[in-house]
C-alpha cells in the first residue's frame, strides 16, 4: 500500500492545487454562481484525500464544502469571506503535504 501512496500522492497534490486555485479565484472575485461547483470540487477532494488516508485534509475539505453550500444559499459577503478563509487554510495544508513529499 505504501507504493500506492507514493505513486498517487503527487497526483493528488497536483489536482488539489488546480482545484483550489480555481476555487480561490472564483471566491476572491465574489463569483457566487461558482459556489455550487466549488462545493462539488471540495466534496470530491475530501473523498480523494480520505482514500489516500490524508486525515488532516478531509475535515478541512468537508468544512469548505459546507461553507460553499452556505454561500450558495445566502450569497452574503460574510459567507464569501468564510469560504475564502476555509479555502486558504486548505491550500496551506495541501502545500505543507506537497512540500513534505518533495523534501
Amino acid at each position: 500500500m505504501e507504493d500506492l501512496y507514493a505513486k498517487f500522492l503527487p497526483q493528488f497534490v497536483s489536482l488539489a492545487r488546480t482545484r483550489l486555485a480555481t476555487a480561490i479565484a472564483a471566491a476572491t472575485q465574489r463569483d457566487h454562481a461558482a459556489a455550487a461547483a466549488i462545493m462539488r470540487e471540495l466534496h470530491t477532494l475530501a473523498g480523494e484525500a480520505g482514500l489516500l488516508g490524508l486525515v488532516e485534509v478531509v475535515p478541512l475539505a468537508r468544512d469548505g464544502e459546507l461553507k460553499a453550500k452556505q454561500l450558495h444559499l445566502t450569497g452574503t459577503e460574510a459567507d464569501a469571506e468564510a469560504l475564502l478563509a476555509a479555502l486558504r487554510e486548505l491550500e496551506t495544508t495541501i502545500e505543507r503535504i506537497g512540500t513534505a513529499r518533495s523534501s
Binding site: 500500500m1 497526483q11 480523494e48 480520505g50 478531509v58 468537508r62
Partner: protein
Amino acid sequence: MAAASRDRFIVRAEINAGGETVISYGFDLTASSVFVVTEWHAPIGTPVSLRLSFPRILEPIDVPARIGDIRVAGEPGEPAGIRLVFDRAGGEVGEDLVSLLDRANAPTGEPGEEDRPYRVLLVDDSWLIRDMFAYGTAKFFERPGALAIDHAEDAAQAWGKLAKSTYDLVIIDYYLPTEDGASLIARLRGDPRLAPTPIVAISVGGRDARDATISAGADVFVDKPLVLRDLFNTLRVLAERRERVRPAPDRKAILVFDDSPFALALTRAALESAGFTVAIAADLSSFERQRVAFDPDLILVDVQMPEAFGDDVASTLRGWHGVQVPILLVSSLDQSELARRAETAQASGYICKGAGMSELVRRCRELLEVAP
C-alpha cells in the same frame, strides 16, 4: 503486424469551457498535447477541461488543458480543429495516458489471439465508403486477415447481422435509409448482449449528426470526409489488443463507479494489487455497459455524483434489475448519513472514504470471502 502508432489513434474528446461542452474526437496524442477535430474554438491560451476516452482501451481520464493552436482549415487529411496543450498539473496525466496507449499497442500474447480477426461491422449505404474501407484494409494492414469488415446497407440489415454474429466494433453512418444511425445506436445500447460493443458514428451531418449519435450512445463521432489513416490506425490498435472483458475465473471481479478519475485510478490500483480484477466507470452509461459485460462479484458506488446519487443507483440495481451481488456505498459523507442511505437503498453496507484504502480493501475481501 507492426505495432500501430498511438499518435494516430482516435479518442473521444469532451471539451468543457465556460460551461459549454463540446464532444468530438482527437488524435496526435503526446505527453503534452492532443489535436481535437472541432469547429469550436476560443482564443489561444483559453483554459479548458478535457476528458479523453475510448471504450475498452481508455477509461475516461480528465486532463486540464489550454488551447495551444487553432487550425481553421486544412488540406485533405488535415481537418480543422484545435491543439490542446495539457496544463502542468495535467502533465503527469498526459504521460500516464500515453503510457496507457503504449500498453494498448502491446500484444497480449494470449494463445490463438493472432489468428482471430478483429471483427468490425460497417453500417453505411454508400458503396464509396465501403470501397474506401476495402482499400484501407489492404493499405494500412500488413496482414489484412487481422481485420474482418462486414457490411450492412441499412439498420434492418445491420440488426440481422448483429443478432447472428459478434462484432468487436460497429461503425455506423448517421444518414441511413428508413431508420437513421442514431436510432440503430439506441437499439444497440438497449440490448443487454450488444450494449457493451464500442460504437463509432460517422457522418457529414456536422453538429446535428454528432449530437444525435452521441446522445444515442455512440462512443466516438468522426466527421466525414474521414481521415482514413487515423481511423485505420485506430482499428489496428484495436486489432492488436485483445483485452478480455471477462475476468479470470479464480479472481473475484469488482466494478467501481465514481465520478472522480483520480479516485477510480487509486481504487483500481489498490484492488488490483490485492488480487482482484477491476473494472471502472465514471458515468452512468459506462457503468451500465460494464455491469452487463463484466458481471462483477461486487459493486462499489460513490454516493454524490453529478448524474445520480449512488444510493439511487444501488436501489435501482436491487429493485429494478434484481442484482444480487453485494453493493457497497463509498463516500466521504458523514458515517450516520451514509449508514442511513445504505440501509434505505438495500445496499450491503458502506465504506467511509476517510477510513482509507486499506479499510476499503479489507471490506472487499471480507464481503467476497477472500483471504489476504
